[in-house]
Structures are given as structure tokens and as C-alpha cells.
């Protein structure tokens, strides 16, 4: 084609500019604040002396406990989501007749698109000391007296597993859907049992979807604010609530900024570390599998 052509990213420039002004610049500003300090009761931040002191302050024992708590809820919640979603996604994509799959997907979508806060309030009602669950459990004789799970770490764990479960089911469904029945039948015809087919054909082929689901759940879960705020109380605090309270109630923007930066760093580092561990754990298996294929040839 001849004639004048605009430079390549031209059409993307408005979006790039918008994100630079309203995403990159504000985040850099928070990074800058995190090296400052709170000068007095009435001022929120000052930057005339720069130091790493706010980071040290953000890691003192009280706050550190909350970060540790967040990491615990993040890991336990992601693993629970994976364990709960796996059989459901497998069932939906393999066992259910094709014409019902769309309907079931839509049903998974409904809670996901219900307002996050509203579904969490639903759990607050269910978990209330004298609520539905308490009545049901005490009528079967599992508990005696009021249910005291609300405003604890367990309630937060239940809440985050609930809130992020659809984000695990959907990519797993897509992944299993891609592993065709022919693949599984071929594996069976070659003499593999059902367990061997699951672990040596289905799961390896679905691995990209499993990884996507884990990331989709883990990252927003670590930064969760609403679940911990509504179900957590003092015992189930998470880092997101801590950051917010520095900006809203304590009015210490420098410390809040340091915490926000730490939160992002913890999320990225832990995700990278988990990826590395999983990669190292899978490495020997992938070699042996290749060897088997080579021998089969």
C-alpha cells in the first residue's frame, strides 16, 4: 500500500494517555508519598525528608500480623477455590449434555455479577449468631448456643472462597472444554486407566486454564477489602482494610502509601514464588512424560 500511514500506536494514544494520567501518575504519587512522613496531627503527609522509615513502620509486629493473615487467607482461599471448582468444572464440561452447558455457565455467572458487597451482606445474614445456619446446625445438634463464626478469620475465608469461586470455575471449564473427548478415548484405548487418563492427559492439557484460574483468584483475593470489612471485624483483618484505614481514619498517607506499595510487592513476589515452586515440582514429570512418548515412538 502506498501513501501516508499514521504511526503504529496512533489509535491507542488516547487510551495510553488516559491510563498514564489516571493510573500511572497516581500510583507513582503514592510511591513518592511512601518515602515521606506524617508531620503532625492535622497534616496527612510531607515529603521534605525522604526515608524508608514508613516501610519499617509498616512491618512492625501489629501490621505484620495482618500481612501474614492476608497471605494465609490468600493461599488457603486460592487452594480451596481450586479444590472446590475442579470437580464442578470437570462435571460441567465433560459429563453434562452439551445443551445444558450454556445454562449452567449462566448460573455460575449470576453470583459473579451480583454486587460483591450485596452477596457478602447475604453471608453476614446467614452467619449471624442466631441466623439461618445457627438454627440449622443447632437443630441437628452440631452446635449448642449461638454460632460464633462471624467477624473471625474463618468467616473471611468462607467469604473470599465464595466471592472468587466463579473466577476459578469459568477458566477451568474453558480448559476442560478444550481437552476433547477423543483425547481421553485415545488414552483409554492405549490402555490407560481412568485415574491415569486424568493425571497424564486431562490435567496436563488443562494446565494453562488451571494456572489462569489460580492467578485470577489469588491476585484480587490478596487485595480484598470488602469481604474482610463486612465479615472480618478485628479478628479477620486484611491488608486492604489496613491501607484504607490509614487513608480514611488515621489520615497517615505516608504510612498508608508504604502499606499499599508493600501489598503490591507481596502479591507479585508470592505469585512469582508460587509459580517457581510449581514449575520446579512439574519439571521431573514433564521430562519423564517426554521420555515415555519418545519410547512409544
Amino acid at each position: 500500500m502506498s501513501g501516508f500511514r499514521l504511526p503504529r500506536p496512533t489509535l491507542a494514544i488516547p487510551a495510553i494517555g488516559w491510563l498514564l494520567i489516571f493510573f500511572v501518575a497516581p500510583v507513582l504519587m503514592v510511591l513518592w508519598f511512601s518515602f515521606g512522613y506524617k508531620p503532625g496531627i492535622f497534616a496527612s503527609h510531607a515529603n521534605d525528608k525522604l526515608s524508608f522509615d514508613r516501610y519499617a513502620e509498616a512491618l512492625n509486629p501489629t501490621f505484620f500480623t495482618t500481612f501474614w493473615n492476608t497471605l494465609w487467607v490468600g493461599l488457603a482461599g486460592t487452594i480451596l477455590c481450586l479444590l472446590i471448582a475442579f470437580p464442578v468444572a470437570y462435571w460441567m464440561s465433560v459429563k453434562v449434555p452439551v445443551r445444558f452447558r450454556g445454562l449452567l455457565l449462566a448460573l455460575v455467572m449470576v453470583p459473579y455479577w451480583t454486587n460483591f458487597l450485596v452477596r457478602t451482606i447475604g453471608w453476614q445474614i446467614i452467619l449471624a449468631p442466631h441466623g439461618w445456619l445457627a438454627t440449622a446446625l443447632s437443630s441437628v445438634g452440631i452446635i449448642h448456643g449461638p454460632l460464633d463464626i462471624l467477624y473471625t478469620r474463618s468467616a473471611v475465608l468462607l467469604g473470599v472462597v465464595y466471592n472468587y469461586l466463579p473466577l476459578m470455575i469459568l477458566p477451568l471449564f474453558v480448559a476442560f472444554d478444550r481437552v476433547s473427548n477423543e483425547m481421553r478415548e485415545a488414552s483409554k484405548d492405549l490402555g490407560a486407566g481412568r485415574i491415569a487418563t486424568l493425571f497424564r492427559v486431562t490435567i496436563p492439557l488443562a494446565m494453562p486454564g488451571i494456572i489462569v484460574g489460580t492467578i485470577l483468584v489469588y491476585i484480587p483475593l490478596m487485595g480484598d477489602y470488602i469481604t474482610a470489612k463486612v465479615l472480618g471485624g478485628a479478628k479477620g483483618n486484611m491488608a486492604g482494610v489496613l491501607v484504607a484505614s490509614q487513608f480514611q481514619t488515621a489520615q497517615n498517607w505516608a504510612l498508608g502509601s508504604a502499606m499499599a506499595v508493600l501489598l503490591i510487592v507481596v502479591i507479585l513476589l508470592s505469585a512469582a514464588l508460587a509459580g517457581l515452586i510449581i514449575w520446579l515440582a512439574i519439571l521431573p514429570f514433564s521430562r519423564s512424560r517426554k521420555l515415555v512418548i519418545g519410547m512409544a515412538k
Binding site: R8, P9, L11, A12, P14, A15, I16, W18, L19, F22, F23, V24, P26, M29, V30, I84, A85, V88, Y90, W91, M92, S93, K95, L105, L107, M109, V110, P111, W113, N115, L117, V118, R119, I121, G122, I125, I126, G131, Y162, L165, L170, P171, F173, V174, R178, I219, D224, Y225, I226, V230, G240, V243, A244, F247, Q248, W253, A260, L263, I264, I267
Partner: protein
């Protein structure tokens, strides 16, 4: 496996049945709090969590309380404007990524990735001082406007979502038509309007509607950047968690859920008409 024929088959049925039972339990789990909210929206009592009796008092109260109706109106306006903005920015960026690839795409993808993975609470705490800085220190009065602040806050993630959806649709279609149009001496702008945009249209509409529902749901960023007087619906609910939830919150939530599901059903229809399979639709809608 054993040599007898019946044993594996029975085992087969057992795993199949337990998978089904587990899935049904999970679906009940997924719907439990929504059913609770639906049931309690008919609570005629004064407090949401204390069941008093069946009645439509909540639905009546939600229409009478100006705090409720005006917050919903704020949410709808902010949702529409942020969806329009995100659709405009995201469509152009998605087209550029798919049709004018180069080294810049890698950099832009990293930027979009950061927008997507940054926790909303971090967006919120960084956007608040920033709009205060723009509005008060730089004297750009427009950033003191409540709706403008909400639209800015909601547009970031939505722009990334629209870009991704539009890009993945166009990458899946080859450039034959656009090349033919250029060969027939159509100027680039006309090719864009007459060929590229219609090709991308299902993705543009789906992205726009998704942005709208994302905007309606935006709670965290909105609760930080909001200006009193233009409180959006989710922020009103969040403040009620502290001061005391009443049944009309549940009633309005039911209405908003119906509205959101209507918009999403429309997305599914649009995508289906353009030939996506169930699993492609799921991928698009999960963002």
C-alpha cells in the same frame, strides 16, 4: 481395572454420581446468599437481618427514600458515561493492537496487565490524592465534580477489559477485507468506519455493556473518590453496613440484579449472534 465387566461400570456410575452431587452442593452454595437477599427483601421489619414478616414495605420504602433513589440515579449516570468512555478508548486501542502490531504492543500489554492486577484498594487510595491534587492544587474545577470523579475511577479497569475483548475478536479475523478496501483506494478512515468497526462491533457492544455493569458495581474506588451529594448506590450500601442495614437495601439490590442480568443476557445474545460458542462467551464475560 478388574476383568469382570460389571465392576468398572458400577465404579464409573459412582464417580459420575458423586461429581453431580458435589456440583449441586456447590451451586446451592453459590446461590445461598442471593436467595437470602431475595427473601429478606420482603422483610416487613425495620432491620434487614431481623425477620419480622412478609411484606412489600422494603420495595415501597426504596421508592420513597430520596437517598436510595438518588444514589441509584448517580450510579446509572456514572455507569453510562464511564462505559461510553471506556468503549471509545478501548475500541481504538484494541483495533491498534490487532491491526498495527509492533514493539509498542508489548509495552502496552504490560500497562494493561498492571491496570488489571493492581488491587482496587490501591487504585482507590492513589486516585483520591490525585484528583484532590488536580482539582484543588492545579485548580482544574472539573475534578471536583462527583460524577467526573466516579467516571474516571470506573473507566480504568473497563478500558483494559474493552481493549482486550476488541483485540481478541479482531486477531481472530484476518485482514483480507481491510486490505481489499485499501486496494480499492478507500482512505484509511473510511476503511476503519466501513470495515474494521463493523467487524469489531459485537466485541464493542459486549465490552460496552460489560463496562456498564462493572461501573454499576464499583464500590471501592467510588467510596474513596466520591463527593458528598453524589454518592453512588454501592457506596450508600457500604455506609449502611456501618449505620444499620434496612430491608429496602435488599429490595433495591434485587432490582439492580435484575437490571444487571438483563444487560448481561444482552451481551450473551450479541456474542451468540456473532457466532461465539458457550465457552468463548464465558471467556469474554469473565474478563
Amino acid at each position: 481395572m478388574t476383568s469382570t465387566n460389571s465392576k468398572p461400570r458400577r465404579q464409573f456410575k459412582l464417580t459420575e454420581a458423586s461429581l453431580g452431587v458435589w456440583s449441586v452442593i456447590v451451586f446451592i452454595f453459590l446461590f445461598a446468599p442471593i436467595i437470602v437477599i431475595f427473601v429478606y427483601s420482603f422483610n416487613s421489619g425495620r432491620l434487614l437481618a431481623a425477620w419480622d414478616g412478609f411484606g412489600f414495605d422494603g420495595y415501597q420504602a426504596m421508592l420513597e427514600k430520596t437517598a436510595v433513589t438518588s444514589s441509584v440515579w448517580v450510579s446509572l449516570r456514572a455507569g453510562v458515561f464511564s462505559a461510553l468512555l471506556a468503549t471509545l478508548l478501548g475500541t481504538l486501542a484494541g483495533v491498534a493492537m490487532a491491526r498495527r502490531p509492533g514493539k509498542w504492543v508489548a509495552w502496552f500489554s504490560v500497562l494493561l496487565l498492571f491496570v488489571a492486577i493492581t488491587p482496587e484498594i490501591v487504585d482507590a487510595v492513589s486516585l483520591l490524592p490525585w484528583v484532590v491534587f488536580l482539582g484543588q492544587d492545579l485548580g482544574l474545577g472539573i475534578f471536583n465534580d462527583g460524577i467526573v470523579r466516579l467516571v474516571v475511577g470506573q473507566s480504568l479497569f473497563s478500558t483494559a477489559v474493552v481493549t482486550y475483548i476488541v483485540r481478541s475478536r479482531l486477531v481472530g479475523l484476518n485482514e483480507n477485507l481491510e486490505e481489499a478496501s485499501a486496494d480499492l483506494y478507500a482512505p484509511p478512515a473510511r476503511t476503519f468506519w466501513k470495515i474494521t468497526l463493523p467487524l469489531a462491533m459485537p466485541a464493542v457492544l459486549a465490552g460496552g455493556l460489560l463496562s456498564f455493569t462493572l461501573g454499576l458495581d464499583n464500590t471501592i474506588v467510588a467510596s474513596f473518590v466520591q463527593v458528598s451529594g453524589t454518592t453512588p448506590w454501592p457506596v450508600y450500601v457500604l455506609s449502611s453496613v456501618r449505620t444499620g442495614l434496612r430491608p429496602d437495601i435488599a429490595s433495591m439490590s434485587v432490582v439492580m440484579l435484575v437490571l444487571t442480568l438483563g444487560a448481561l443476557a444482552l451481551v450473551a445474545v450479541v456474542l451468540k449472534k456473532s457466532g461465539d460458542s458457550a465457552s468463548q462467551i464465558a471467556r469474554t464475560m469473565a474478563g
